[in-house]
């Protein structure tokens, strides 16, 4: 999916950068990590333990735990529930907790 921000006259404030596996991603203050990634067209949050298949944002309300990633070294962080922050280091998660 190639998501994007809706332009309806909303002032989102000053954009900043964070990093997905080293790649710079733009976010605005208050956006969740998952949303900023979706807006950037990066939808794979993790790869699963058994089948090694990609998963991403699904329920969007903290229930399903499919969007967990490694955030600043901490694994299993629900990115739909966590705000992006300047220079945050986000990594695609493999299995139950390693960065890939």
């Amino acid at each position: 999916m190639t998501g994007r921000r809706v332009d309806d006259g909303l002032d989102r404030g000053q954009p900043f950068q964070f990093f997905l596996d080293g790649e710079a991603i733009v976010a605005y203050p208050g956006e969740s990590i998952a949303a900023a990634l979706v807006a950037h067209g990066r939808n794979v949050a993790r790869r699963t333990t058994r089948a090694d298949v990609p998963r991403g944002y699904f329920c969007g309300m903290g229930v399903c735990w499919d969007c967990v990633m490694v955030v600043n070294g901490t694994p299993n962080v629900r990115t739909c529930r966590t705000e992006a922050a300047p220079n945050m280091k986000v990594q695609t998660q493999r299995g139950v907790g390693e960065a890939s």
């Binding site: 999916m1 998501g3 909303l10 203050p29 208050g30 699904f58 329920c59 969007g60 309300m61 299993n76």
Partner: protein, 482 residues
């Protein structure tokens, strides 16, 4: 330990309405919510740093939301955001994990207003990135003012599909199709008298439908998504018609290209805390599945524990607002603090009855026309966390197809981080089908704390209870293992 007159779990529509009513009767209120900002799903607001111009279609509920949020600034109200109510160690005590520690709240009465999440319906490809729930799409729109794709299919069953579809159109998305399983057009005439009971809500529904019509979005009723396709992201969805007997006609599959698929099959109330403390539950599929049995005052079978809104029975935001008020009013009566209770109760109940007529009409309109288990292929993942497929469950079933508990412990289904929220309903349907038993008769695996995952470190501040062996699920409740 926090002492409060009324503890409310959930700061969505029902919880905020309950808090508003409670302070009007002079009660002290503690409201714990697992979101950083109040509002729940319906009144979810964009982040604080965003400055809105007030002109956008997406701001239409901002006024009502802000009026509800006012109660959080009331001197008698304590709002605990980012909080997980992970246990009710006693029916009037909440164990709340927030800010890296767990505290307890002791209350005169409790209103459970935990809301709902999307009813999970597994089908081939539903785990692909780019396949998201209707609630997830709404949260991107409301909470981040974003859309998940450029060409989107919205599929499933229920009124939320039309809300999401219209919202995406308003956000400038090419909605490739709305795929609604129920033959709503054929049922419309019969539903009309009930729909007219709430003209404002009907007008809103017509506005959604009109938005889709004007944008030329194909609304395919009596059809269902049967598979999502793609490797690293969804790139197409297969849809098929459902015949009069509820069979999916796989000879007439159509493929629709898309870069995101939004799926919604209705909502499921979050009843785990009530299950945990032994509230009597009844199975009502039309209202979301397992629901707490409630008195006319919205009290559950456990005295002093009230339940309101979608967390008790799916009914939508207007019902949640009224039930929240009524539940808090009854709690105030119970605590001997209510003023003008009978007058208020009559006024609120009257409004509720009207919206209830609308709700029943909507339920009949959208009643599921097929059995969703027919969507499963052997390699379809049922348990998203532990990656347990339908085929594995069937294989175990041939060996020991007897109980949900057995299948859980042999496959690890429902043992992952979502704690069964995405798979338990499917497991119940599978077991019920294979045993020829109604779901209401099945023995579910016991619900245990934590009701939601919390960090071990949160528990370091928990008061330590005297050691006691946990009750064995196969023994009658309370009997000790020796």
């Amino acid at each position: 330990m926090i002492d409060t007159d009324l503890a409310i779990i959930g700061a969505g529509a029902a919880g905020l309405a309950a808090a508003t009513e409670a302070v009007e009767h002079g009660l002290t209120v503690t409201i714990a919510d697992d979101n950083p900002r109040a509002g729940g799903q319906y009144f979810r607001q964009p982040p604080l740093p965003f400055r809105r111009n007030g002109q956008s279609w997406f701001d239409k509920e901002a006024t009502r939301a802000n009026a509800l949020f006012d109660v959080l600034g009331h001197p008698k109200v304590t709002h605990i955001p980012d909080a997980v109510v992970w246990n009710l160690p006693e029916p009037n005590v909440l164990a709340v994990a927030a800010g890296d520690r767990s505290t307890r709240v002791r209350a005169g009465a409790i209103v459970v207003a935990t809301g709902a999440h999307d009813r999970p319906v597994p089908f081939p490809g539903w785990t692909l990135p780019g396949v998201i729930t209707a609630g997830g799409a709404q949260n991107l729109l409301k909470g981040n003012r974003m859309v998940p794709g450029r060409r989107i299919v919205v599929a499933g069953n229920g009124p939320l599909l039309f809300v999401v579809g219209a919202s995406l159109v308003r956000a400038g998305v090419d909605v490739a199709a709305i795929v609604e399983a129920a033959p709503v057009n054929a049922r419309l005439t019969a539903a009309l008298p009930g729909l007219l009971a709430a003209p404002k809500l009907l007008r809103q529904a017509i506005d959604y439908r009109w938005t889709l019509l004007r944008a030329g979005v194909p609304v395919r009723t009596g059809m269902t998504a049967v598979a999502a396709h793609g490797e690293e992201n969804v790139n197409a969805v297969s849809i098929a018609p459902i015949d009069g007997e509820g069979r999916i006609d796989r000879n007439r599959i159509e493929r629709v290209d898309c870069d995101a698929l939004v799926v919604g099959f209705g909502l499921t109330p979050s009843v785990e805390l009530m299950r945990l403390i032994g509230c009597d539950l009844d199975f009502h599929p039309a209202r979301g599945g397992w629901l707490p049995r409630r008195s006319t005052g919205f009290e559950t079978s456990v005295p002093g524990v009230f339940a309101a809104g979608d967390g008790a029975a799916i009914g939508g935001v207007e019902i949640a607002l009224l039930e929240g008020r009524l539940a808090a009013l009854e709690a105030a009566v119970r605590l001997g603090r209510a003023r003008d209770a009978s007058v208020r109760r009559a006024a609120l109940t009257h409004k509720l009855a009207r919206i209830d007529r609308f709700r029943r009409a909507i339920e009949r309109l959208f009643a599921a026309p097929c059995h969703y288990l027919d969507l499963l292929a052997d390699d379809t993942v049922v348990c998203r966390c532990e990656e347990v497929t339908a085929g594995e469950l069937k294989m175990r079933g041939r060996e020991a197809w007897t109980s949900m508990v057995q299948l859980k412990s042999t496959t690890r289904l429902a043992m992952g981080r979502c704690q069964g929220r995405n798979c338990m309903a499917t497991l119940a349907s599978l077991v019920a089908q294979s045993m020829g038993e109604p779901i209401a008769k099945l023995a579910y695996p016991r619900t245990r704390p934590p009701a939601r995952p919390i960090a071990l470190g949160d528990l370091l501040h928990e008061p330590i209870a005297p050691p006691e062996l946990p009750a064995d699920p196969h023994l009658p409740r309370g009997q000790k293992v020796t």
